[in-house]
């Protein structure tokens, strides 16, 4: 009834009126402010922290550093063992903190803290032949680093190329903020997090407390894109430590600049693609060799090669992941970790193969459709990539694509590109409680997170649908670890996981109401989906999509504009058309940034990301976006989960950069294999 309807975002009115309270905005009596002092070296040890001048500033309450900071119970994750050791693993690491009556005083005093170091040499630059490259035991989330099957055979046509992507920073609009409040031995953390329950469990373990004594609240979160995932970021830990130490509520807001070193980013990559095929474009062998970095503070092995394990049919297939352990900030999740950079390489190489075979790139992909998942051998729960490609080609006017480097309109070279997209469609166990409220309306509770995705709204629709009542009679409570357990918002699993539990709780309540003979206030039903998820049938569950882009390259300035982009997605049942569209388009625009404007530049001398603000790290702005559209197939997938949805938060970014890069090749006739494709790199290759 309500599922799929373009319902207005339920918290939209609060957000446009300026009433929605984010984590740093709760009003608490007696609050004071903490500011982190960050390491000015990339590798070494803190010798001493001289806080004399800082402490002398009126309004300064305390200064924390290694040696006198409260101890943590678990220091196994160095990134989160804040102020527990003198070791410095990267520039920007938190080495002290100032707590003061106002933020301005804390900031002033922060600059007066003198830290001396024993500096060791640092190694911060990823190179394709780094001497320290090693094979990690596993790649994220829990997969083998290397796979191989089949025998290599001589191929009629081959492509052997290497693509390079720089580091990218998530840059959600809301910088991470935490308000930590201790009441006796209970801690409440108002925290910008993608998962209140997981954040609570992580913080409780770090602090050596039972989970019941920690509560994490995140009613509204200003975007995350992975950077507010769990394990937590060190700022959340620091806020809890500061509040414990001074015995007052402490607010700690990370600045935009600080986000570049302490809240995660996407690793740079070198990706070698080797594809051998017959002249008619059928892939014989495919290889994907990934080189990435990880921090010495915590290993993170981004799974960029996994797309090549499942995307196309081939007789032989090999994927490898190698890491260099560097003195760099901790890289982590950023929207579609693995699939996003990996698909850039795979889909760019497919375009090169199409050209080498003289086959249309859409047709090449269709010819290499696998019958089953090549990785697991399982059938796909549904795989409608071919329909996405065909529909997109028709809508986009693909047949008018020019020969490479041949279409010139005034000062512009014009071209078109295509790329396929995929993203896993998984679900995690969750619990939900549905009950009849005193006024006869319905309340549904789950520790889900709405980081801007529209989860609160979609869950309201799922609940209303299952209860058979209008959405106006349903209130969904989320964003609080005190509610029934919900996994974090990540991996495009949120709605599938939470929605499943909400569905079961509401179905149960509806049955209960029928048995009781009416919606008696207080009637309730709890659901837990762990059993159902454990017993799911063996299917390969993925979303699919096709991305099309048209570019215009200015022959004088090298500037690239994207007048048109179209994404066609098969991503299961769409719960709310209005909110879904923004998720798809938002992902595509982030992909546009990846292709053309975004890049985090490592300063070799100081070992830090240099362009650490929004003036120098260029996320796309309104004027960068021209005509962009997303459509989707009506695609409920009963094998994915009972709702038939597959998750849409990430697939929009996957393949977008490849489509644009392929369009730039089509426009200019030159293949650019390093992102972003910026004017300085383009100009030398223009006519």
């Amino acid at each position: 009834m309500e599922l799929g309807a373009p319902l207005d975002r339920v918290e939209g009115w609060d957000k446009v009126a300026g009433r929605a309270r984010y984590s740093g905005e709760q009003r608490v009596a007696g609050v004071c402010h903490a500011v982190a002092v960050q390491a000015e070296i990339a590798h070494g040890e803190v010798l001493a922290v001289d806080a004399t001048a800082a402490r002398a500033v009126p309004g300064v309450i305390d200064v924390l550093a290694y040696g006198d900071a409260p101890a943590l119970a678990d220091t196994s994750d160095f990134e989160l063992a804040v102020l527990q050791s003198p070791r410095v693993a990267y520039r920007g690491q938190i080495v002290a903190a100032v707590v003061a009556e106002t933020l301005e005083i804390a900031r002033h005093a922060q600059r007066l803290v003198r830290v001396t170091y024993d500096e060791l040499g640092h190694d911060v630059e990823l190179t394709p032949d780094h001497p320290g490259l090693y094979r990690p035991e596993k790649i994220s989330p829990d997969d083998p680093p290397d796979t191989g099957e089949g025998e290599e055979t001589p191929a009629e046509v081959s492509v052997d190329v290497t693509y390079e992507t720089p580091a990218f920073h998530n840059n959600p609009m809301e910088p991470h903020a935490t308000l930590a409040v201790w009441e006796g031995d209970h801690l409440t953390l108002y925290d910008s997090t993608q998962g209140a329950a997981a954040q609570r469990d992580a913080l409780a373990a770090l602090l050596g407390m039972p989970a019941e004594r920690v509560r994490v609240v995140a009613h509204h979160v200003g975007g995350g894109f992975g950077s507010k995932g769990v394990p937590p970021r060190p700022n959340s830990v620091l806020a809890a430590l500061c509040a414990r130490r001074v015995g007052r509520p402490v607010k700690l807001a990370v600045t935009r600049q600080q986000m570049f070193s302490i809240t995660g980013y996407r690793t740079p990559t070198f990706q070698r693609m080797r594809i051998g095929a017959s002249k008619d474009g059928r892939i014989a062998d495919i290889e994907h060799h990934v080189i990435e970095q990880t921090s010495t503070a915590r290993e993170f092995a981004e799974q960029s090669g996994v797309v090549t394990r499942m995307m196309y049919a081939a007789r032989a297939r090999r994927t490898t992941h190698r890491l260099a352990r560097l003195d760099v900030p901790v890289n982590s999740w950023m929207r579609a970790p693995g699939e996003c950079p990996g698909m850039y390489a795979l889909e760019s190489a497919m375009d090169e193969l199409a050209e080498a075979c003289g086959i249309d790139p859409v047709e090449l992909r269709i010819r290499n459709e696998p019958e089953r998942d090549p990785d697991s051998g399982n059938p796909f729960s549904s795989r409608r990539l071919v329909e996405c490609l065909r529909l997109g080609a028709e809508r986009f006017g693909w047949s008018s694509r020019p020969e490479p480097g041949t279409r010139r309109e005034g000062r512009h070279l014009v071209g078109m590109g295509v790329a396929a997209a995929t993203y896993p469609a998984a679900a995690r166990p969750a619990q939900a409680l549905a009950r009849v409220a005193d006024d006869g309306s319905f309340t549904v509770s789950i520790a889900a997170a709405d980081i801007g995705t529209g989860a609160r709204t979609a869950l309201t629709q799922i609940a209303a649908d299952a209860l058979g009542v209008p959405v106006a009679r349903v209130r969904v409570e989320i964003g609080d670890s005190a509610l029934p357990y919900g996994p974090l918002a990540g991996g495009s699993m949120g709605n599938a996981s939470w929605g499943w539990a909400v569905l079961r709780a509401c179905e149960g309540l509806r049955d209960g109401i029928a048995r009781y003979g009416g919606a008696e206030p207080g009637l309730e039903c709890r659901a837990d989906t762990s059993g159902e998820i454990k017993n799911q049938e063996a299917y390969a569950r993925h979303s699919f999509g096709a991305q099309f882009a048209e570019v215009r390259v200015d022959v004088d300035s090298g500037e690239i504009r994207v007048p048109r982009m179209l994404g066609v997605f098969a991503a299961g049942r769409v719960m709310n058309a209005r909110l879904a569209r923004s998720q798809f388009v938002g992902g595509m625009v982030m992909g546009l940034g990846m292709a053309l404007t975004e890049e985090s530049r490592m300063d070799r001398e100081f070992g830090d990301y240099l362009n650490h603000d929004l003036a120098q790290y260029h996320v796309p702005v309104n004027a960068d976006v021209l005509g962009i559209d997303a459509i989707w197939l009506d695609d409920p997938d009963p094998h994915a989960n009972p709702l038939g949805g597959k998750g849409i938060g990430e697939i929009g970014i996957v393949g977008a950069a490849a489509a644009i890069g392929n369009a730039v090749h089509n426009a200019t006739g030159h293949r650019f294999r390093r992102l972003p494709i910026s004017p300085p790199s383009v100009i030398p290759h223009l006519p």
Binding site: D8, A17, E25, G222, R256, G586, D613, N622
Partner: protein, 158 residues
């Protein structure tokens, strides 16, 4: 120092303001109006956009003292009592709001655009809003919202 100014039609006095404090900080931490967001603190993202004597400014770039005796209007002051401004309604209706963190600044900037240019063209909208970064929506629905609000205001004015 003491700063006297008007916020959303209400006279406000903030005491013990440090000379280096921004208008944004005073609004959020002293006046209790956190609607204007702090996302970059150096005028790059537009999330803190407010009207200062009728002109949109980044509140993070305005020293609190510069607001002395002047009128500030924030996102909390766009509505007419309980009735939201057409631009606020249009943002919800068009799906132009996601995480909501850029929204307050965008609303003020878009409100100003429609006041100045009753029927803005798409390039005018994109240019006017180019200083307001959004990481969620991809901007398309924001454009729809501005078009809708402008059309409604023009209709109401006829």
């Amino acid at each position: 120092m003491r700063v006297n100014f008007t916020v959303n039609g209400v006279e406000q006095t903030a005491d013990d303001v440090w000379e280096g404090e921004s208008l944004l900080y005073v609004l959020r931490e002293r006046v209790g109006l956190p609607g204007s967001k702090n996302a970059c603190e150096q005028g790059e993202c537009g999330s803190c956009t407010v009207y200062l004597d009728g002109t949109p400014v980044c509140a993070c770039l305005v020293a609190a003292g510069q607001a002395e005796g002047r009128e500030v209007r924030t996102v909390e002051g766009l509505a007419d009592g309980e009735r939201l401004d057409p631009i606020q309604e249009a943002f919800v209706e068009c799906g132009a709001v996601q995480c909501g963190f850029c929204t307050p600044g965008l609303l003020v900037q878009a409100h100003d655009l429609i006041e100045r240019v009753p029927e803005p063209s798409d390039p005018e909208i994109r240019e006017a809003l180019a200083g307001n970064l959004c990481r969620c929506t991809g901007y398309e629905k924001i454009l729809d919202a501005v078009r809708l609000a402008a059309a409604r205001k023009a209709e109401a004015g006829r």
